[in-house]
């Protein structure tokens, strides 16, 4: 489980790592008890500084997604899958709501927004077909 990091897209690297780990837990790519790559490995594989990875992992511990197993690394917490599954759509919903609210407050019609969502979603599916 190695993250795809985009530098300079405005989203902090540590947050990208957090979100990707949470998504991976939600969809079963990371199972309970499984170890996440060590900070050092994740750091070298993603070409990111060790401390940045550590920061992400620390945040994930704070949210109860990871637990530290002394001397052996960090593992997925027992209740993480449930948390992450519940949080999966929530993470999307949160950002989506902001976009939609701004659109509505500025007179975008229902037809316009639905058509926009469809066309964008279709375009993305062609971009990376299943």
């Amino acid at each position: 489980m190695i993250c795809q990091i985009e530098t300079n897209n405005g989203i902090p690297i540590y947050e990208q790592i957090c979100r990707q780990v949470k998504f991976a837990v939600a969809n079963g790519s990371l199972l309970v008890g499984e170890h996440v790559p060590s900070v050092r490995e994740m750091a070298t594989r993603t070409a990111v500084n060790v401390n940045t990875v550590a920061r992400a992992y620390r945040d994930l511990q704070g949210e109860g997604v990871l637990v530290s197993i002394r001397g052996t690394g960090l593992a997925i917490a027992a209740d993480a899958p449930e948390k992450c599954r519940r949080g999966r759509l929530e993470m999307v919903r949160e950002r989506l709501q902001y976009v939609l609210r701004e659109a509505m407050q500025n007179g975008v019609s229902s037809d316009e927004i639905y058509s926009l969502v469809h066309s964008e979603w279709d375009a993305l599916q062609k971009e990376s077909p299943p």
Copy 2:
């Protein structure tokens, strides 16, 4: 024309001001030649730092939405409505795309995303009915 500012939602205050001014121009709330509130007035009415409003107005001048009228302040530029109308959906599209891309990359299905958009949009319509 006074802006609604949300602090702590992650979006810079100056950008919120810029976008709201542009939307107001696009939908005709602000007409060509009309004066935008003075930096000081906008600042006090929105409880925002004066420099922040100045920064927003500076950006808007740079984009050609506002023009400086000597001695009287800033007014809507002649070609601003056309610019802003063209940019209206584009501003929404840009952010929407980002949200949808993350959703798709993390296994959110078409059904889930469409249902999410509908429920959120409906909820917003109830929140502030026409």
Copy 3:
């Protein structure tokens, strides 16, 4: 409000800062809305690295004790006093429980423990009289 830091007592510096801020909020030394010293000031006054202070403040934000006010610094959150007051004895209780449990599991009698607590508490009061 400047913290007293002990290096090399085993407790991480950032945690010492966190606990002292929380105690200060609990007993009213820091009021709602009041700004905590800037990371840079706290750092120089306590002879601690800026990042260490930042780490402490970040943790306090995570716990909802501090809120970030864009561009102006960090302030005590509205509900922090209640939280901290509730947490004040809890912070002591948590550590106390561990000590007492170990004592009990190893045959220390009630008389012994109560006498120990009294003698230690009295000694501390003489050390730093009110």
Copy 4:
């Protein structure tokens, strides 16, 4: 003589082992000459890494609590009971002092601390009644 280990309570596992062995010697659960479980047995029975148990036993040898008997393992040293009995309350006192000092420095009153000690001690007695 098998130890009760709590992971993730902040206290190093090897130290938990050391302290429990010393307490057991002090209260006569472990007698002079008696063998302590082998490193491997203690490790498997407590689900702890072998090296960790070895580290604990090494420390205990350093303190003169355990002595190595060629070919048969480690046994309780002749003068261990006296040492451990003398150190028994001291081990508790040391940690207790730290907790009380923080409490006092942060305005916890005598009444509060005594009442806290009583309630915690009572709760623990109900938890594991004699």
